[in-house]
């Protein structure tokens, strides 16, 4: 059975009496250890799909399951939530909004360990330091607050936090959008290495076709709340795409290819 299973998913937000149909019936399954990419227009519902898988968006119809189960209901702290958090972590698109403004980096990274009763003080310290190092931040960042970090440093803290509990499923929403090429390469290499070592499963959103192609086995293209095309890496390499929109994305990413 697929690890991530989305079937007939619809997400409708109610905004001042108006219904915003963010996701309009999508089907998608991701196998264990697979890395699956989502690309598409801005506003097409990519983040909403990831949020639905975490129980952070209202599912109006259909289902969004991980391990055959729906995410725990929002706002309840129970043992199921803890089990879910250990298995599934998300890196949010907005690193600023997802880091508590009055918690230091140290607290952001050690809290998950504390909540789950993992390791003593020494062990937590060691893991926090290692996690920072993994994302290219030295120890001087450990006691900073989010507003004392640059955009890309914040994004790296968000990635590090998601990895603290060693989850087996990672939902990654534009995880390197604020990083320059050199740091992006380091973070992508880290994610790939962990996937290999721990058999992780990724569902990853990026507007950068080259990043998706590098990281993912298959990808889906979204437009206005729907999936318009699913491709594997090989089809992409051959340029075997059906939709004009996908072709435009592909052409643009090739035109953008670095000048060597």
């Amino acid at each position: 059975m697929a690890l991530i299973e989305i079937a007939g998913l619809e997400v409708v937000f109610a905004a001042r009496g108006e219904a915003v149909r963010a996701v309009r019936g999508i089907d998608l399954s991701v196998e264990p250890r697979e890395s699956f990419g989502l690309v598409g227009e801005s506003g097409s519902g990519k983040s909403t799909v990831l949020r639905a898988l975490c129980g952070l968006a209202p599912v109006s119809a259909g289902r969004a399951l991980i391990d055959g189960r729906a995410p725990p209901a929002l706002g309840r702290i129970g043992s199921r939530d803890r089990a879910f958090a250990r298995r599934v972590q998300m890196v949010f698109q907005d690193p600023y909004g997802s880091l508590h403004p009055r918690h230091t980096v140290d607290r952001v990274l050690s809290e998950p360990l504390l909540v789950h009763g993992l390791g003593g003080r020494r062990e937590r310290d060691r893991r926090v330091e290692a996690a920072l190092q993994d994302v290219g931040l030295d120890a001087s960042f450990r006691f900073r607050y989010p507003h004392q970090l640059s955009g890309g440093q914040r994004q790296r803290v968000a990635v590090a936090r998601a990895l603290m509990l060693e989850p087996s499923v990672l939902l990654l929403d534009e995880p390197t959008s604020a990083l320059d090429a050199s740091v992006q390469a380091e973070v992508l290499n880290l994610l790939s290495r962990l996937r290999e070592e721990r058999g992780l499963t990724f569902l990853m959103v990026s507007h950068d076709f080259a990043v998706i192609d590098h990281m993912c086995d298959r990808l889906a293209v979204m437009q206005q709340g729907r999936i318009v095309e699913v491709l594997d890496r090989e089809a992409l390499a051959r340029g075997a795409v059906r939709e004009d929109y996908t072709r435009a994305l592909l052409a643009a990413s090739q035109a953008h290819a670095p000048v060597q």
Binding site: E41, Y96, S140, S177, A181, E186, F209, D213, A237, H256
Partner: protein, 277 residues
């Protein structure tokens, strides 16, 4: 011709309990009515350079410069009131965190029309039409809904475009755009760049385009400054990026993945401590 902006030996430092952080360490450049790209490593001081020019660095951050002048006027000695007046009209910055720079409890429509109503004394209807037109220009699909939405109801890329629209409405002379297209797919990005390009050509806008996307900057900008650890380590014409000399700049291009490229680990940079001297 007199430059629009003159920056000489700009420094930004923070004294924190953990020690002094020198975010910007002596940056100098001038800007005409052109597209100047600033690229550089995460944490190299790009955002702080932009904020310092607009005098938006919060305490305990301290900004010093030998010269910081806009249109011949010294910005460092300008009283805060004068600075605020400039920021509302002639200087603008698209923030890197658009959704958190917008007012969370005010609708997009009100934020977009406020200045038009107060500063330009437009009627409610006229201000609204201007705002909707600007949202359409940045490719927002349903501008009427977005006018009534709060920032948290927008997607990442929509928030970015709302912020761009808001900064373009007062028709500034100098725009600092901090990673303005980092959440946009290439088709929308191309449209936003087309608008900015038009403003530089037709209205003589001076644009500082901060981005980590080197190939994009190479195509879009006239000149590029490369920052590393708080300094400008290289300054060159965008068309000469291929002939970059600094090892950081040269190394960057090799780190990029490409569609159909090899699957193994991406090349990374070997940073030399000497680069930060």
């Amino acid at each position: 011709m007199k430059p629009l902006l003159e920056v000489e030996d700009l420094k930004v430092a923070f004294d924190t309990p953990g020690g002094r952080v020198e975010a910007v360490r002596g940056v100098s450049f001038t800007l005409g009515r052109e597209r100047l790209g600033i690229v550089g490593e995460s944490g190299s001081g790009k955002t702080m350079t932009g904020r310092a020019i607009l005098r938006l660095v919060q305490p305990p951050g301290r900004v010093t410069a030998k010269r910081l002048a806009f249109d011949g006027r010294d910005l460092l000695s300008l009283p805060e009131r004068g600075m605020r007046a400039l920021r509302g009209r002639r200087l603008a910055m698209v923030m890197q965190d658009p959704k958190y720079s917008l007012n969370p409890v005010m609708t997009v429509g009100r934020q977009l029309t406020e200045g038009l109503r107060r500063r330009d004394r437009l009627s409610a209807g006229a201000a609204r039409r201007r705002a909707v037109a600007m949202l359409e220009a940045v490719q927002i699909r349903d501008p009427e809904r977005v006018m009534g939405a709060y920032p948290h109801e927008l997607s990442g890329g929509m928030g970015q475009r709302v912020m761009i629209a808001m900064m373009l409405i007062p028709e500034p002379d100098l725009l600092i755009a901090d990673e303005p297209t980092s959440a946009l797919d290439v088709t929308v990005e191309a449209e936003v760049l087309r608008i900015l390009d038009g403003l530089v050509r037709e209205r003589g806008l001076g644009l500082i385009f901060i981005s980590h996307d080197l190939p994009l900057v190479a195509r879009f900008c006239d000149r590029v400054l490369v920052m590393y650890a708080g300094r400008v380590v290289e300054s060159l014409a965008a068309s000469e990026l291929e002939q970059a000399r600094h090892p950081y700049t040269r190394g960057l291009l090799r780190c990029l993945p490409a569609v159909g490229g090899p699957r193994g680990p991406l090349p990374t940079l070997r940073r030399d401590p000497g680069w930060a001297e």
